[in-house]
Each structure stands twice: as structure tokens, then as C-alpha cells.
Amino acid sequence: MNETTFAGTQAVPMTGAVADPFVVDGVRLGSRLIMGTGGAPSLDGLGAALVASGTELTTVAMRRYSPAETGSLFQLLEDRQIRVLPNTAGCFTAKDAVLTAELAREALETDWVKLEVIADEHTLLPDAVELVDATEQLVARGFKVFAYTNDDPVLALRLENLGAAAVMPLGAPIGTGLGILNPHNIELIVSRASVPVVLDAGIGTASDAALAMELGCDAVLLATAVTRAQNPVLMGEAFKHAVIAGRLAKMGGRIPRREHALASSAMEGRAEFL
């Protein structure tokens, strides 16, 4: 697959001193932070937060056209040259999700889709059965499926085998800000995946995003943690750094945890006071 550089960013994004592009479906992205756009109180605020976050990919929902909002969000993203990842939020069945994805492909001229098939409004957790069916159908229709999934290593691998372009396990239920509730499962998903793993949902603050990257995720997707923060622009910038910091820490290689202390200053050559 040819790699294309998106939005005129540097050809090979740098993380610290290391060339480290995030490549998904053959497309290089300059940031490992994917932003959702839901929950922002104003379009201006959203635009500023998106810029502060450094994101190059954002999710959007598909809803009925209302003349009052003409061009608004779509135009904002066009102007800032941010790639869109339409989602199927609000879909409860594979059938709904497939129709929504088809509409999104038509409207936004992308075959990328963030597949969300939600079981109920109380938990907003994915319905695994419908998710599997929808993935299979969308892959057959030529979509690049970013599958929003439970933090279930078995399900994640199955989605990949069915052709998902990326798997997006949740850290915690949407909008809860509870962080990564099962880091072990996220690590297990990462260890078995050969497509990008994007930690999606549940992020509360910057350290959660850093942890996701330290666990080996390829990227982090979040919305509420920025859009509903007291100062979305500051929070957007915090996440930008958190994702870079977590990625660098993963690549840098953490030290092993030890039971006992290990002095960092040499004991030899101390002055002796008698």
C-alpha cells in the first residue's frame, strides 16, 4: 500500500529525536492523538482545542442536515486540513451501522469509518455480536474499519482477522474518565495485534493517555477529556505532550520494578568522616 502524507505535515513525523510515524491503512499521520469532536460547547473553542492538541485525525458523527448549521464543523476541519474519521455513533445494530457508514462515505468521501455499535444507552458499551457482523459486512463493502471494541483480547483479534484496519479497545466506558480499567487486557491486545491499536474512550486526564502509550498502544482517541475540560485548549495541549511522552517512554524502555533500592550514586570514593 502506498503511504501518503496527510495535510502537508512533515513527511516523517518526529517524536523526540526518533522518526516515528503513525501509519494506518497506509496513511502517515503526524500525531498519535486522535480527537473526537463531541461535547464541545462552541465551534470556536473546538477549533482552538483541536489546534492545541496537534491532532491530524478527528471523529465526526453523521446526523440529519440542518440548514442552520450549514458547513460549520465540516468547514472547520476542511480549513484546518484535519482528516475526518466518521463514526457510527448511535447505531445499535449492524444494519444501522452499515447504512450510516455508507452515508458517511458518500458525504465525506472517505472509506475510513470508526465503527461503533452500542448495546444500550446506559453503558454505551459495544455490542460484540453486532460489532463482529458489522465489521464483516463493512470490510466486504470496502471500508477501512476502525473498530471500537470492548477491552477483550479475543474479540480484538477476531475483529482484526475479519479485516479491521485498526482495533480501538476502550479504557473505560465512554465519557466516564475512569482511565484504563484493565491495563493487562490492553497489553494483551497490543501483544497479539498486527494492525494499529488505538485506546479509545475512558481517558480522564493526561496521565491516562501516557499510560495507554506506555502499554504499547499506537494512538489514543479521546473527546470528552478535552471538550468538557474547564480549559479545552490547555487540556488539548496537555494530551499532545502526554501522548508523545508515553510513546517515548515505551520506546525508551522502562526500568524493571525492584523490591529493593538500587543506588544511583556510586558508593565508592566517598569522603570519610572519622
Partner: protein
């Protein structure tokens, strides 16, 4: 007598060479190993039996020469009649022959059954029109099978995608973890061991003879092949001699000058397993899987067994029938990934045999050019069927019959057995100009 030959073929696994057992139907008073007929077929595998059957059907008398009929590659073969799933990239001409064979199979099987009706045998050939499901294990297997499907469709073959759920509705014991499934209705099966047994029955009943000896070479007379010379002395004289002894063909003496038969052994391991009653039926369709890029198949038989195969090795073991532990491991590992219940089956048999491979994977089928132009009279080569011997049997038989009738079909001229040879040219004509 015919059924005796059939049972002998069924038991050929342990067949020791039966010297000078000229088998049923030998003319009274003929000295052992000194026979004559219209057609001598060297080699008693599926191909040899099929050709002999077709020759008998055309009113010719036939002698089949083999010291251990049915004990070679035919003994191992699973018997998938799978022109669609056996399609490989850039083998279009072979596909045409495979499709022709596939078209011939129903009539061929019916003719054998009709012939066998007059014998003591009760079993059929195991010819079944069970469909085939192609399934993949991971995302790369799914893409590989989807790519192959495009070529299969471009060749006019029917390969329909199923969702995993649909596939598992049809075959509930398929693993829920498979990555894709395709329905291939045109790929069927036969049981090669039953097939050879029934063919032997019919040949016996129709007056064919069996010479239980190894053919050592060709007999020549007045510049034409006049039969086969037997290893134990004696000979079989025939107007047409068909060389159908698989890998052994290249080792025959007195082959035409300059004829190279570039056959190489491609070993395959294959398993036969019994399905315990509580798991029956394990499958109703043949499952052809690709598991992390490695092919594996599971063929369900009517008798409650399944055949799991087959590896492809070119490792040259010291004993050509030695079964590879690694090969068996791979087969069971991959079969189990597609159908987890395979782990609960009873292992009946592990078999290894060598398939006769050729440089272009296509058979060596036809007559041989003569240095001074024309073809060597009295000689037909039919070997090198590689993985496709069982499927191609009726086509090989039909092609041989056409050659004997001197009405060759130009479509199959590309399979001439001398295509890898440099026949010394003494006529000024290229041998290739001569149609089959």
C-alpha cells in the same frame, strides 16, 4: 475374480510384490508373464485404472501391469475433485483440463457404478457432490483467499463469500474464530481407494487382465513400441502401450531416444481419522483452509471418517513412505484451528506418498515425437499428474482414448510429454510442429 482384484487393491497398503501373479482374466494356456492385448497399461494407480477402464469401454482388450496396484500416490490421495479451489495463478491451461475432468466425472462415476453392478461389490466409488467451503484463519488468509477468488471469478468459476455466521450455520463445528468463508459448490469428492477397487472389479468382469509384476521397460519392434518388458522376465505385447506408472515412468528402460520425463517426487503426508458418534457429522462439506498461509483440508467421508491433508515436502527422505512428524503436527495443528473438534477424533492412519511433480505442474500426457517426424507409434505417456491425479483421471482416460482412436483434441497438445525434451531431429522438422 474381479472382486478379488478389487479387494487386493483395497489392501494394497501392505502389498508385497506378487511375482508373476497375472491376475484374473488371463487367457488360458498363456505362459506366465507372456501375454498380449490391444492395450498394455503400465501402472495401476487411479490414472492407469481409469485409462484401462476407458480402453475396455472402447472395445479393446487390456492388460494392466503393476506389482502393487493402487499402493502409490493413489493410496494416499484424499480424492478431492476440486478444479476451483485447486486453481493456481498462471495455470490457465491446466485449469481447462481440470474443468474438463470435472465435467466428465458424473458420467465416469456412473459408468463405473453401472459396470460394477454386475460384480459382487456392494460399495460404490465414494463419488459425492459434497460442496467445498474455503476458509481462512487470519486477516492475511482472508485477503489471500479474496484475491484468489477474483482470479477464480475471472475464470468463470463460482466462489461465493459467506459471512462467518452463515458458514457456521452450515457447519456448526467450524471455529468461530475463522476470518472468512467462501462457498465453492462445484468442488466434489471421490474415495480413491474405493475407486481403484471398483475399477479393478469392472476391469476383471469385462475381461481385462492384471499382471502383478513390475514393468522394466518398453518392447520395440520395427521402430514402434510393441508392449512392455517385465522385470521378472516375459513380456506383454500390445498395439498400444500406455505409460501411467507415475514417478516410475522416468525409470523405464527403452524409452524413446531423447525423451526426458522430468518427474520429481513431491511428498505428502495425509491422515485418516474416525469421527466418534457424538461428533457426527463433523462436517457436511469439504473444508479447504488456509491457516497463516499454509493450506490444509478436511474431507468428510460417508463412512464417518475424515481425511486431513496434505503436506507438500521435497525433502527426499531415506524411506519414501516415511511419514513426517513435523508434517503431521502441522496438519493437526491447522485442522484443529479451523475445526477445534478435530482434537477429539481417533487417528486411524498416517500415510505418506510421493506425487509425481513436473516443472510446470501439468501432466505429461500424449504421444512422443519421433526424430524423423511423426509420433512414436504404439506409445502413450500419461504421468506427472502431481496433486491432480484423481480429479484428472477421466480426462486422462478420455485423452488416451482419443489418441488410440487417432482423433486427438488439439486443446491438450500443450501437455505433450516431450515438451521438456530435445528429440534429435533427423527429418528437418521440429517435433513440436507435429500435433499430438
Amino acid at each position: 475374480m474381479g472382486t478379488r482384484a478389487g479387494r487386493a487393491a483395497e489392501a494394497a497398503n501392505d502389498a508385497a510384490a506378487r511375482i508373476c501373479d497375472t491376475g484374473p482374466g488371463t487367457a488360458e494356456g498363456t505362459a506366465p508373464g507372456d501375454t498380449s492385448a490391444d492395450v498394455a497399461v503400465i501402472g495401476g494407480g487411479v490414472i492407469g485404472h481409469g485409462i484401462a477402464f476407458e480402453a475396455i469401454r472402447s472395445g479393446r482388450s487390456v492388460v494392466l501391469i503393476d506389482d502393487a496396484p493402487g499402493s502409490g500416490a493413489s493410496w494416499a490421495a484424499a480424492g478431492m475433485l476440486a478444479p476451483v479451489s485447486e486453481l493456481h495463478y498462471q495455470e490457465e491451461q491446466l485449469l481447462e483440463l481440470m474443468l474438463e475432468a470435472s465435467r466428465l466425472w458424473p458420467g465416469f462415476a456412473a459408468a463405473i457404478d453401472a459396470g460394477a453392478a454386475g460384480t459382487e461389490s456392494r460399495a460404490g466409488t465414494g463419488y459425492l457432490t459434497t460442496p467445498t467451503l474455503a476458509v481462512g484463519a487470519d486477516a492475511a488468509d482472508r485477503r489471500a483467499l479474496a484475491d484468489l477468488r477474483e482470479v477464480q471469478q475471472a475464470s468463470g468459476l463460482s466462489v461465493e463469500p459467506l459471512t462467518v455466521r452463515e458458514a457456521r450455520t452450515r457447519e456448526p463445528l467450524l471455529s468461530p474464530g475463522i476470518s472468512c468463508a467462501f462457498d465453492i459448490p462445484a468442488d466434489h469428492q471421490v474415495d480413491p481407494r474405493l475407486l481403484i477397487a471398483r475399477l479393478a472389479d469392472v476391469l476383471g468382469a469385462e475381461g481385462g487382465s492384471f499382471v502383478r509384476q513390475r514393468a522394466a521397460g518398453l518392447l520395440w519392434q520395427d521402430g514402434q513400441v510393441a508392449g512392455a518388458r517385465l522385470a521378472g522376465g516375459g513380456s506383454v505385447r500390445a498395439a498400444e502401450t500406455v505409460v501411467a506408472n507415475g514417478l516410475g515412468a522416468a525409470g523405464l528402460e527403452e524409452l524413446p531416444a531423447g525423451l526426458a520425463l522430468p518427474l520429481r517426487p513431491v511428498y505428502g503426508d495425509i491422515l485418516r481419522l474416525r469421527v466418534p458418534p457424538h461428533l457426527q457429522p463433523l462436517l457436511t462439506a469439504t473444508v479447504r483452509g488456509m491457516v497463516r498461509g499454509v493450506p490444509v483440508y478436511i474431507v468428510p467421508r460417508q463412512d464417518g471418517t475424515v481425511v486431513v491433508g496434505a503436506t507438500q515436502r521435497e525433502d527426499g527422505p531415506s524411506d519414501p513412505r516415511a511419514v513426517s512428524a513435523g508434517g503431521i503436527y502441522q496438519l493437526l495443528r491447522d485442522a484443529q484451528q479451523l475445526v477445534p473438534a478435530v482434537a477429539e477424533l481417533e487417528l486411524l492412519e498416517a500415510t505418506a506418498r510421493a506425487r509425481p511433480g513436473t516443472p510446470d505442474n501439468a501432466p505429461l500426457l500424449g504421444r512422443v515425437a519421433r526424430p524423423d517426424g511423426g509420433n512414436v507409434p504404439g506409445l502413450i505417456i500419461a504421468t506427472g499428474f502431481f496433486r491432480h491425479g484423481v480429479l484428472l483421471t477421466p480426462a486422462a482416460a478420455a485423452v488416451c482414448r482419443q489418441l488410440m482412436d487417432f482423433t486427438p483434441d488439439p486443446r491438450w497438445a500443450g501437455f505433450r510429454p516431450d515438451r521438456f525434451s530435445r528429440i534429435p531431429d533427423t527429418s528437418g522438422d521440429s517435433p513440436k510442429k507435429e500435433a499430438a
